[in-house]
Symmetry: C2
C-alpha cells in the first residue's frame, strides 16, 4: 500500500490467477501457467516469484510466509488488488495482437519457404491437437473466457497449419 507501481499484463496475470485460486504460492502459479495460460501469454517462471513480491509491496496482494522448511510464500488478493483487476477487466482494449513468430521472420528475410514449412507444420499440428484435446476435456464448470480463448487458439493454429502446409508443397 505504499509505492505506486505500473501494472503490466504480468501483474494482471498474477492478480487474475490468484483471484481464481484464492491463495497460492508462486510455484502453484507456475503450474497453472504451464497447464494452459502460457499458450496465450508466455511468462518466465522467475517473474512469478518477483511479480507477486512487487504487487504485495504495493498493497495489491497479501503475503503469508511459512515458518520452517521451504519458507514458501502464499499470496492472496487484497481489496485493492481485486479493484485493480476489476477495472482492468471492465476496460475493453483496442490494442492489437503482438505477433512474434520466429519462422515468419525468417520467411520475411528470405529463408527457404519449403524447409521452413517442413519444420513448422508438425509443431503446429501438434499444438492444434493439444488444444482440441483440452477442449474435449472441458466440463460445464470451465469459465466461458477460458473456453473462448481456446476457441481462438484453435482457429489460429488451423490458420498456421493451412499456411505452412501450402508452402510445404
Amino acid at each position: 500500500m505504499s509505492s505506486e507501481i505500473r501494472l503490466t499484463p504480468t501483474s494482471f496475470i498474477v492478480l487474475g490467477l490468484l483471484e481464481a485460486a484464492g491463495e497460492a504460492t508462486p510455484y502453484e502459479l507456475k503450474q497453472v501457467v504451464a497447464a494452459g495460460l502460457g499458450d496465450f501469454w508466455s511468462i518466465q517462471h522467475a517473474q512469478l516469484y518477483s511479480e507477486p513480491e512487487r504487487l504485495a509491496k504495493a498493497g495489491y496482494l497479501s503475503e503469508r510466509r511459512e515458518e520452517g522448511g521451504r519458507r514458501r510464500r502464499h499470496y492472496g488478493v487484497t481489496a485493492a488488488g481485486r479493484k485493480a483487476l476489476r477495472s482492468w477487466l471492465e476496460e475493453p482494449t483496442a490494442e492489437l495482437t503482438e505477433l512474434r513468430d520466429p519462422g515468419l521472420l525468417k520467411l520475411f528475410f528470405g529463408a527457404d519457404p519449403k524447409s521452413l514449412a517442413e519444420a513448422q507444420v508438425p509443431v503446429h499440428r501438434r499444438k492444434l491437437a493439444e488444444y482440441e484435446e483440452l477442449q474435449t476435456g472441458m466440463g460445464a464448470a470451465t469459465p466461458a473466457g477460458v473456453r473462448l480463448s481456446l476457441v481462438s487458439g484453435v482457429g489460429h493454429e488451423r490458420e498456421w497449419v493451412r499456411f505452412w502446409s501450402k508452402l510445404a508443397e
Copy 2:
C-alpha cells in the same frame, strides 16, 4: 570482431534490413520497420540505435559517422555479419508463435466478451484492409518472403475478425 555477443531476433532484423538496404542510418531503419516489418515483429526505435552499435562492436557491422551536423551513423553489413545472417536463415526453426493479445488475455480472465469484441472488430478490420491494400500495391520486384509474410498476416487478421465478430453478436 571483439566481444562475442548473443544474437537475438533484434540482431537479425537489423542485419536483414541492412543487407537489403546496403547501407543505412538507424533513422532509415526505423522508417522501414514502420512501413511494414513492424507488423510482424514490433521493435522499439531506441533499439535501432543501440543494436547496430552493439553489432558493430562485435564486428558484424561497419560504421561510418558523418563529420558535421547531425553526425549520423551509417551502418553496413560486414562479411561476418553476412555469414551470421546466412546461417540463421538456413537453419529452419520449430519454435512456435508467441501470441500476445491483450484482448484475449482479458477474455481469458472473464471480461465481457461482447464489449471486448466491439472494441476489437474495427481495429482488426482496419488492419486487414491495410494488409490487403499493401498486397495490391506490391509489384513483381517484391521479394517472395515479404509477399508470403503478408499472406500470413491477412490470414490471421481474417481469423481475428471472424472470431471477434461472432462474439459481438
